[in-house]
């Protein structure tokens, strides 16, 4: 990704001030992502307002508490990642990085288990527009978490060989923070 080829200096050496390129690149990307999720949130609100009946199937109860716990796990992951950035380069940072990945994977595991149960009880994308928006919002977020975790694994490998600089770290943190912080918004919107 962006962070691996981040150098811009020509032979004379250009100005090095301002925001480092990987960070700027990821910030621009996050703006785009924010608009993407805003559209999903608007979709949910618009369809909820116009649908008439907008609820899960009768026999299905959304796992509000489990997901609440899971939300805390994901927020913890964000904190681990932030802490890993503050201590960049140290052994402590590497283990915090690993914990951030582990909690991210745990989050995905719980999500997957919940989806499995919900689908088992007959709530699918085609069963109603409630199901459709539910899986769309949660699914888009889950895809982001999967891609972010894979990226983190890749960078962890580089980091353990000390090939991952502070700029790349900051860029990764920004992206992971975005993925983590958008979740409570989606959670409160979709589960309540």
């Amino acid at each position: 990704m962006a962070t691996t080829q981040a150098t811009v200096s020509g032979p004379l050496g250009h100005s090095k001030k301002g925001i480092p390129s990987p960070v700027l690149g990821i910030l621009i990307f996050v703006v785009g992502e924010l608009m993407f999720f805003s559209a999903l949130v608007s979709t949910r609100i618009v369809i909820k307002a116009s649908a008439g009946i907008f609820a899960p199937p009768q026999n299905v109860k959304l796992p509000v508490l489990t997901t609440g716990f899971n939300t805390i796990v994901l927020l913890l992951s964000g904190i681990f990642m932030a802490a890993a950035g503050f201590k960049h380069g140290s052994e402590r940072s590497k283990s915090l990085f690993a914990m951030a990945i582990a909690t991210g994977v745990f989050f995905l595991g719980v999500q997957g288990y919940e989806w499995f149960n919900l689908l088992h009880y007959g709530m699918t994308m085609t069963s109603s527009v409630f199901g459709a928006t539910f899986y769309l919002l949660i699914g888009c977020h889950a895809l982001h978490v999967i891609l972010a975790v894979l990226t983190m694994l890749w960078f962890y490998r580089l980091y353990s060989k000390d090939k991952f600089g502070p700029d790349g770290m900051l860029a990764l943190q920004i992206y992971w923070s975005f993925v983590v912080l958008i979740w409570p918004v989606l959670y409160s919107l979709v589960y309540f």
């Binding site: 962006a2 691996t4 080829q5 981040a6 150098t7 811009v8 200096s9 020509g10 032979p11 004379l12 250009h14 100005s15 301002g18 925001i19 480092p20 390129s21 700027l24 690149g25 621009i28 990307f29 703006v31 785009g32 992502e33 924010l34 608009m35 993407f36 999720f37 805003s38 559209a39 999903l40 608007s42 979709t43 618009v46 369809i47 116009s50 649908a51 008439g52 009946i53 907008f54 994308m125 085609t126 109603s128 527009v129 409630f130 459709a132 928006t133 769309l136 888009c140």
Partner: protein
């Protein structure tokens, strides 16, 4: 990776494969985008020729195509629109010129993320392949209009193209991903790798414009990608996002589409304005009038462009109170655009104008875009739009904006930067023949359509002879005039094609670095620039438009010249 970058500069001999097929060099990637865009442009133009023939001479066996069925007609207009916006205007104006010009004009050796840049073109090429393949699947390419309104686009029993619609949607999303990657590069490069001494207000206008266009694209593409995901689910697994019978909302798609779609107009408009700014300053030997005004006006346009989208939906069933608000914002946005045109005219005022082909096209852009802008005012007013909506008046209006943007301004840019790109000049005589043919032909196509539209011609009619009140000979003659003009315009484009290909190999050689005596940094590099662009990385001492400075012997003053 610093090591990677150093290798970059070794100028070791690269194989053909490395240099042209999987290049990291921004110039080659830019040219790949440009040439792909030109090829797609010819394809889109061919589609328009076929359906215009059907409209002028219903039921005719169209030469080079054959009999047009109504299903094919739908597919042709849909893909004409899609190709011309997403695979012609965007790749040429934003990705092609952006990739080629930004690093050269700001004095950098390449983009910040060259590998992402390469990936961007590869994904774009994949999107081209997916789109082209959609023409060959069962029932042919997508036929639900380029705006893809559900339920027409969501249900195969309505659009009759079960596979075409899915492939079309996938191609559009892939293309968006390609431009998102490109956009990140453009913005980061402009911010972080400018030459030493180049301040914000020393950046050539075309670079600003392309980067602002990229910002608009980055901020508006998300909603359409979200909408496309939902539409894809509706098409494939049968969800009900846009199906009112199941609780969905078809207007929601229109909001998501136009929230992207209207800023998209400015995504292609701004780079065209930028190209024209470079050309008119060079060939009138004058400083760009009010650089900062142009820049801040562009910011204003960009921000406003996010608040006008619902003017496409005045008759779609939105709340009339909402329509009033969008009428006001739509009319407001004509102010900064008018201001820019006035500033450009002020730039020309009193200049030593040299009518090269590039300059002719730049002036042609200003003249024709003006007509497009003025007719837009009628459509922006919700009251008038109730009558004009979906008529040929709308069609003529937006072609009077898009053709100057994507065709005329692009030609200005191609004739202007051709010596830099290929080290040879394009032929000026052929260029002028091409210019006059294009201008006469283009106006001949769309001027009559304003009248047929005002008389009530609906855009989505396959055969007007089915509508007695529209099938009268006075209207049919105007339709035939438009179609004949399409053929005239097309013929003159082959003059361009010949000129372009011939000049690439046999044109007059460009022996100096700066043939037009311009100021910006790309003219400091050789023609064409080598990998790495500059022999010595330039430093910048002044703004990009210092022409005819009093007390100076030469009438131009390159940005990198110390004294």
């Amino acid at each position: 990776m610093a090591t990677n970058h150093a290798e970059h500069h070794d100028h070791h001999e690269m194989s053909f494969w490395e240099k042209y097929v999987f290049p990291l060099d921004h110039k080659i990637i830019g040219l790949q985008y440009l040439l792909t865009g030109i090829i797609m442009g010819f394809l889109g133009a061919y589609f328009s020729y076929v359906f215009r023939m059907q409209l002028a001479f219903p039921g005719i066996d169209v030469p080079l195509f054959g009999l047009v069925t109504s299903a094919q007609y739908n597919s042709l207009i849909t893909n004409h629109g899609t190709i011309m916006i997403f695979w012609f205007a965007m790749p040429i104006l934003v990705a092609g010129f952006g990739n080629y010009l930004i690093p050269l004009m700001i004095g950098a050796d390449d983009m910040v993320f060259p590998k992402i840049n390469r990936l961007s073109y590869q994904i774009f090429l994949l999107s081209v392949v997916v789109l082209l393949s959609s023409f060959f699947v069962h029932n042919g390419g997508f036929g639900g209009a380029w705006t893809a309104y559900p339920p027409l686009s969501a249900k195969a029993e309505y659009n009759l193209t079960p596979w075409g619609s899915i492939l079309w949607l996938i191609a559009v999303v892939l293309e968006f991903v390609a431009f998102l990657l490109g956009g990140i590069n453009f913005i980061t490069t402009l911010m972080n790798s400018r030459a030493k001494g180049m301040k914000m207000m020393d950046i050539p206008m075309v670079c600003w414009m392309i980067v602002l266009a990229s910002i608009l694209f980055m901020a508006s593409a998300g909603p359409l990608i979200a909408g496309a995901a939902m539409l894809l689910f509706d098409q494939t697994i049968g969800t009900g996002f846009f199906d009112p019978a199941r609780g969905g909302d078809p207007i929601l798609w229109q909001h998501l589409f136009w929230f992207f779609g209207h800023p998209e107009v400015y995504v292609v408009f701004l780079p065209a304005m930028g190209i024209v700014a470079e050309v008119i300053t060079t060939f009138s030997r004058k400083k760009l009038f009010a650089y900062k005004v142009v820049l801040f006006t562009t910011f204003a346009t960009g921000i406003l462009s996010f608040f006008v989208w619902a003017h496409h939906q005045f008759i779609a069933g939105i709340d009339p109170r909402l329509a009033n608000i969008f009428t006001v914002t739509t009319l407001l946005i004509s102010i900064p655009i008018a201001e820019m045109l006035f500033v450009y005219i002020a730039t020309l005022w009193g200049g030593a104008i040299e009518l090269t082909t590039a300059m002719l096209f730049a002036l042609g852009f200003l003249a024709t875009f003006l007509i497009g802008g003025v007719t837009g005012v009628f459509l922006g007013a919700s009251g008038a739009d109730i009558y004009f909506h979906d008529t040929y008046f709308v069609l003529a209006h937006f072609h009077y904006t898009f053709v100057p943007i994507a065709v005329i301004a692009v030609f200005a840019g191609l004739y202007y930067w051709f010596p830099k790109m290929f080290g040879r000049f394009m032929d000026e005589t052929l260029g002028k023949i091409h210019f006059w043919g294009t201008m006469v032909g283009f106006n001949g196509i769309f001027m009559p359509l304003f009248f047929t539209g005002a008389a009530g011609d609906h855009r989505r009619i396959f055969d007007f002879s089915n509508f007695p009140e529209l099938a009268v000979s006075s209207l049919q003659n105007l339709r035939i005039a438009a179609t004949v003009s399409v053929i005239i315009t097309a013929v003159f484009q082959f003059v361009f094609l010949f000129n372009f290909i011939y000049s690439m190999f046999r044109g007059r050689k460009c022996t100096v670095n700066n043939p037009w005596k311009a100021n910006t940094l790309e003219w400091f590099a050789t023609c064409p620039p080598p990998h790495g662009n500059f022999p010595v990385m330039p430093e910048v001492y002044r703004g990009p438009y210092e022409f005819s400075v009093p007390g100076r012997e030469l009438d131009y003053w390159p940005q990198n010249e110390k004294v």
